[in-house]
């Protein structure tokens, strides 16, 4: 017999009193070799920037592993790599956010298939009674993306909303549209 869950409620307009912290956007320190910067903006259904949103990211390390008891493979210890796996960034007045991280490795899906490198994303804001969940995939991983078991079930014409756009020099662009022609694919977790 399972208990009823505590329902979700909105973060409201004032979460920035508590939730953001200075190192939040830095999954790794900015000077880490191989660090990439993901820049994006969050837009509402009228095309306006959402200036009071919160973006959180969660991902595997570059070896495709997690320092977590439910990843029974365990992490591969990479010297003094200060990799947190988790990123958190409040959106600015223009809806912009930034995450500095390392590209995750591919992951076993469990049935012999492989998940392409990806980052899970939670979107929170005033006016959102529950988080919206999406994923960031990498533009240079064309073959891996084509074989990804999650992308495979996304309608083909919407897959591009999940793939970051190369910005050159370690930069990637990933805009999030809550609604409209370019509505980002969101997941039922």
């Amino acid at each position: 017999m399972s208990e009823l869950l505590t329902p979700s409620q909105t973060v409201g307009p004032y979460f920035s009193m508590r939730l953001p912290w200075p190192e939040g956007p830095y999954v790794v320190p900015a000077d880490t070799p191989g660090a990439i910067t993901i820049l994006g903006r969050l837009y509402d259904g009228a095309g306006a920037a959402i200036p009071d949103g919160l973006i959180e990211t969660w991902q595997a390390d570059p070896n495709g592993r997690f320092a977590h008891p439910d990843d029974h493979r365990g992490p591969i210890v990479d010297g003094d790599l200060a990799f947190r796996g988790f990123g958190r960034c409040k959106t600015n007045h223009d809806g912009s956010f930034k995450i500095v991280t390392l590209k995750p490795g591919p992951l076993p899906f469990g049935d012999g298939r492989t998940e392409a490198p990806h980052i899970d994303v939670s979107v929170f804001a005033r006016g959102m009674l529950d988080r919206s969940v999406t994923r960031i995939y990498f533009p240079e991983e064309e073959a891996a993306n084509a074989a990804d078991p999650v992308l495979e079930v996304v309608p083909a014409h919407r897959r591009s909303t999940l793939i970051a756009i190369p910005g050159g020099d370690g930069l990637l662009r990933f805009d999030i549209y809550m609604q409209g022609d370019r509505e980002t694919v969101f997941f039922d977790l």
């Binding site: 979460f15 939730l19 259904g45 969660w58 439910d70 997941f187």
Partner: protein, 251 residues
């Protein structure tokens, strides 16, 4: 087959043995499009959601710990030179899975108004007084039994622009991680007997009546400290694991 420390069946073939998290029950969470709460109109996905299986990225999650916490983080009444105005309260409870297991070592973050119903935030314009001795933010880590405890002051109600004469019931915002990406939860704790609950479109966005009551703390006379502070118990239930997937497969 072998069994791991966590009690999971680990196939010897090196395949993954991942837990599966149970789906919320119907009406448990609010619909993202909730017309009574006007700001949801332009901020909810309109296309159908795509089912995301629970694989490695989803069954793991950030295990943020003690490095973020100081003793003062759990006592919102001692973060400044003087004591804040208002009714001192203790808010405590247990974080557990829906299958009844306590969630230990998990970060709990809270934020709230002061006694007058005013947030310490630059975009807050409610003409109620700020309290120089109250910021209204706290953090705690659950213990081995999933328990947490804050000392704070009773937050106030405040008007908001959603509709004519709209007032939020007094509440404390909570943010929790659990142990997996699937368990992440942001919610609000309300106070029993608050007459504003009946009129609040955010509280009432939850369709299931029993689920709604999960968000209302219980007054506890047993935990109220004589001559000092009232106590409220607020237990938080996160998504649990679907036990059926751990059953020994038939040979």
């Amino acid at each position: 087959m072998t069994v791991s420390e966590q009690g999971l069946i680990v196939p010897d073939s090196g395949e993954l043995a991942l837990p599966e998290y149970m789906k919320p029950q119907p009406g448990n969470h609010p619909p993202l499009d909730s017309p009574g709460y006007k700001s949801t109109a332009l901020r909810h996905p309109k296309q159908p959601l795509v089912l995301l299986p629970h694989r490695l990225t989803e069954v793991t999650g950030p295990l943020l710990g003690d490095e973020l916490i100081t003793m003062q983080d759990a006592d919102l009444t001692t973060q400044h030179a003087g004591e804040p105005q208002g009714q001192r309260i203790i808010v405590f409870g247990q974080v557990r899975d829906s299958d009844g297991r306590p969630v230990p070592d998990t970060l709990v973050e809270i934020w709230q108004t002061n006694a007058a119903g005013r947030y310490r935030h630059s975009r807050e314009h409610h003409p109620a007084p700020l309290d120089p001795n109250f910021t209204g933010v706290g953090r705690a880590i659950t213990d081995q039994g999933g328990r947490y405890r804050f000392i704070t002051i009773q937050p106030g109600s405040y008007p908001w622009g959603n509709h004519y004469n709209a007032w939020r019931p007094a509440h404390i915002h909570y943010s929790l991680f659990g142990r997996a990406f699937t368990q992440r939860l942001v919610t609000q704790m309300y106070f029993p007997g608050d007459p504003l609950l009946a009129y609040d479109p955010i509280y009432n966005s939850v369709p299931d009546e029993k689920s709604k009551l999960r968000m209302v703390a219980e007054f506890s006379i047993e935990d109220t400290q004589p001559e000092w502070a009232l106590a409220y118990r607020f237990d938080i239930v996160l998504r649990g694991r679907d036990q059926s997937v751990f059953e020994e497969p038939h040979a």
